[in-house]
């Protein structure tokens, strides 16, 4: 059944038909007809952000915490260019986003009209796909296709650029129906022969491990459940990337913690020494592998990924399975249950003994203090005081992000929103806005650094407008902490421009935004202050003054391999730990 309506009305109709409840956006000349259509309806609620980058990050938080597509509406020109950072972030972390951009009328395209930019040209490399709709007849199909492409296969952002005259034009709207895009058909089921080969490798392993990533989260709750089942069945150890935290419960004894540059000693050593690596939904990113030629030299590698281009991109694998994590895991679990091969229990016990030895080094240990708040301690207390609640965590980018990943323990998927691939400072605050909107009754905390959070601080205003009681927990060390740490490591302690003079008074800033401000300077006050933060039914900025000189350990220094980590206790040897080549390369 189709109905005649304007292009602008089609946009709203399509959003509603796709089950969209909220859209994050910012109006402007070239999207006014769509805003007019929003004004006239109740189905889709518009959330007015304060900057278009914030709109995309909010949509990312919304998407990541719900598994749904996040939606964005921005105007032409600066509206579109401001969204580019968010779109790139969503592309790198495979977050499903549909971003509708206004465009100048078709007859003005290419004329350098006011607020014109080549949106499809600019966003081509930072989206999964994009469209410029030049005929009203194409609009309904394109809108539905955009949702399909954003959410299926390896998810990602899709831009639909709609010129203003198309928004005014009238045409026939049709509902989404199952359609088969000729060229775009993501493969969900893995090749059974390869899955069999993988199971056989796994069964004969003496030192196996699971290395999982964000693909498990994207694949949905079923993938996490199946992963848990397979890990339990096999008794193998498991680690995960930053993006994959929560897919496997951190409280489980088989969990080794996060791996990679700031991963635990046990996870990285196990990666280096394993003989069979089962990588599911991760992509051998450079923060994970460290030095490539020394990456897990003795292992057979199994790689499950829905994106064929991820397989053999950085690391050559022995069994590459193209498919959706949940689908492949289902087959793996079934095969494992029915397979007659019995794993080598003795070898596995020895392997666990070795892992326990590494675990015994307590690589996350830090020197505690009774008069200054250690950032790790702050996260630990935050975790202890919020773990029994319905809590969602977002972060900015930097030291605080790594400490959050190390010290905040996730038991469930979709509870952890962070910018992994692009490393976008300023992600966490708007993402928290999106998460809180999707989960109004939950506790949503942005674990932040004072430098990152200032990049998108204006979204406090959004939080205040929609009465979203997000908690911004700032680990304030007055430095861009990770930059400072690298300068200490690599540049002789010359802290060029990494110290921020004239920081705002965050308590007053919170109040200026009609939120609530808390400052905490002593470890003894921390618990009380965190409880106060949780109880305030308003957006809160928590200014947690922490040790300015604390570094984030353990760390795989530049140019080193997994088995050459430096631990916190070795901090005084930092200078020697980095090779000359390493200084140049990273």
């Amino acid at each position: 059944m189709s109905r005649e309506m304007t292009g602008a009305e089609m946009v709203i109709e399509a959003l509603a038909d796709q089950g969209v409840k909220h859209i994050f956006g910012y109006p402007g000349g070239a999207v006014l007809p769509i805003y007019d259509a929003i004004f006239a309806q109740q189905k889709v609620q518009h959330i007015l952000v304060r900057h278009e980058q914030g709109a995309v990050h909010a949509a990312e938080g919304y998407a990541r915490s719900t598994g749904k597509v996040g939606c964005v509406l921005v105007t032409s020109g600066p509206g579109a260019t401001n969204a580019v950072t968010g779109l790139t972030d969503a592309l790198m972390d495979s977050i499903p986003i549909v971003c509708i951009t206004g465009q100048v009328p078709t007859h003005l395209i290419g004329n350098d009209a006011f607020q014109e930019c080549d949106t499809v040209g600019i966003t081509r490399p930072c989206t999964k796909h994009n469209y410029l709709v030049k005929r009203i007849e194409d609009l309904p199909r394109v809108l539905h296709e955009a949702f399909h492409i954003a959410s299926s296969g390896r998810p990602g952002p899709v831009v639909v650029d709609i010129p203003k005259d198309i928004q005014f034009a009238k045409g026939m709207y049709s509902k989404p129906k199952d359609f088969q895009h000729k060229g775009y058909q993501p493969k969900l089921k893995g090749d059974m022969e390869k899955i069999k080969a993988a199971i056989e490798l796994m069964a004969r392993a003496k030192r196996p491990l699971f290395y999982t990533g964000g693909g498990i989260i994207n694949s949905g709750k079923a993938a996490s459940d199946l992963l848990r089942e397979l890990v339990k069945l096999s008794g193998y150890p498991i680690t995960s990337t930053l993006m994959g935290l929560g897919a496997f419960p951190a409280a489980d004894p088989q969990w080794m913690g996060m791996l990679g540059m700031h991963g635990t000693l046990e996870a990285n050593m196990a990666m280096h020494d394993c003989d069979v690596m089962i990588c599911i939904g991760a992509r051998f990113d450079d923060r994970i592998t460290g030095r490539l030629d020394a990456f897990s030299p003795g292992s057979k590698k199994i790689h499950v990924d829905i994106d064929a281009s991820s397989i053999n991109k950085n690391v050559k694998v022995d069994v590459g399975i193209i498919g959706d994590c949940a689908h492949v895991l289902e087959d793996m679990v079934r095969l494992w249950r029915t397979s007659s091969i019995h794993p080598d229990k003795k070898a596995l016990a020895d392997w666990w003994k070795q892992i326990e030895k590494w675990r015994g080094r307590k690589s996350l240990a830090y020197r505690s203090s009774s008069d200054i708040i250690k950032p790790q301690y702050a996260i630990q207390r935050l975790y202890e005081l919020t773990k029994d609640r319905d809590t969602y965590i977002t972060t900015e980018v930097g030291q605080h992000q790594m400490w959050a990943a190390q010290f905040y323990h996730f038991q469930e998927p979709n509870r952890w929103m962070t910018s992994g691939g692009l490393g976008t400072m300023g992600y966490g605050l708007p993402a928290a806005v999106g998460v809180q909107l999707a989960h109004p009754k939950s506790l949503v905390i942005d674990i932040a650094g004072e430098a990152s959070v200032l990049m998108t601080m204006q979204e406090m205003s959004t939080a205040a407008q929609y009465k979203l009681p997000i908690k911004i927990f700032i680990l304030n060390n007055q430095y861009m902490g990770m930059v400072r740490q690298w300068q200490e490591l690599l540049h002789g302690g010359r802290y060029a421009e990494s110290y921020t003079h004239s920081l705002p008074d965050f308590v007053m800033l919170a109040e200026a935004y009609r939120g609530y401000g808390i400052r905490c300077e002593k470890p003894g006050d921390l618990d009380r202050a965190i409880k106060e933060m949780i109880d305030v039914d308003k957006p809160v900025i928590f200014d947690c003054m922490v040790d300015q000189n604390e570094n984030c350990f353990p760390m795989i220094p530049s140019g080193r391999a997994h088995n050459e980590m430096i631990l916190g206790d070795a901090a005084e040897k930092l200078e020697d730990a980095v090779t000359e080549e390493g200084k140049v390369m990273v």
């Binding site: 081509r124 450079d286 490539l292 030299p297 053999n312």
Partner: protein
């Protein structure tokens, strides 16, 4: 194994040798599709040695892009997978690994000269089965079709005889036998 590296960023796998591959890419004939392909190559640092694009089936809105690229086997594999990821791309076929591809190119070669040079140019053109498609009293334009090395050889021979300019189509490729792509 992987190439030696001293960085957290992966370096180019230099252990493997580069090789040239001809890829046939079947795409939807829609605006921007070529930009997507070219943008992918420039954005990810791949080479394009030759590129031809033309609509092949008007009714189905399909175009065929033939790309000659060079890279290590791992990079060639990446290129194919990255191309396959683009939404308007239907199929990517590596004509080189198939071993059953025919590759042809067309060139128009302008030669200016008088007397002996002019006669020699004509004689060579005849030997290469190049056709004269334009002539003045002091110039010829030859049309020559064939494999790229044949065209290069012809152009090299024309150089001392008064070569003015060359316009080449780039490589078009098709598979031998009854099956389509």
């Amino acid at each position: 194994m992987n190439a030696p590296s001293t960085s957290h960023y992966p370096t180019a796998p230099t252990a493997q040798l580069s090789e040239a591959h001809t890829l046939s890419v079947l795409v939807d004939n829609e605006p921007g599709v070529l930009a997507r392909v070219i943008g992918l190559f420039s954005g990810r640092g791949y080479n394009i040695d030759s590129l031809t694009v033309s609509e092949t089936e008007h009714q189905k809105h399909l175009s065929l892009i033939t790309i000659v690229t060079t890279g290590t086997p791992m990079v060639i594999e990446q290129i194919k997978n990255q191309l396959d990821r683009l939404v308007p791309i239907h199929r990517v076929v590596d004509m080189t690994t198939s071993g059953r591809a025919i590759e042809r190119e067309l060139a128009m070669v302008k030669v200016k000269g008088k007397g002996e040079h002019r006669v020699e140019a004509l004689r060579l053109a005849d030997a290469f089965r190049a056709r004269v498609i334009d002539a003045t009293t002091e110039s010829f334009v030859f049309e020559i079709t064939g494999k790229s090395d044949k065209i290069e050889q012809f152009v090299a021979l024309m150089l001392p005889l008064g070569l003015v300019e060359v316009s080449r189509t780039g490589i078009a490729a098709i598979m031998r036998g009854p099956e389509g792509m």
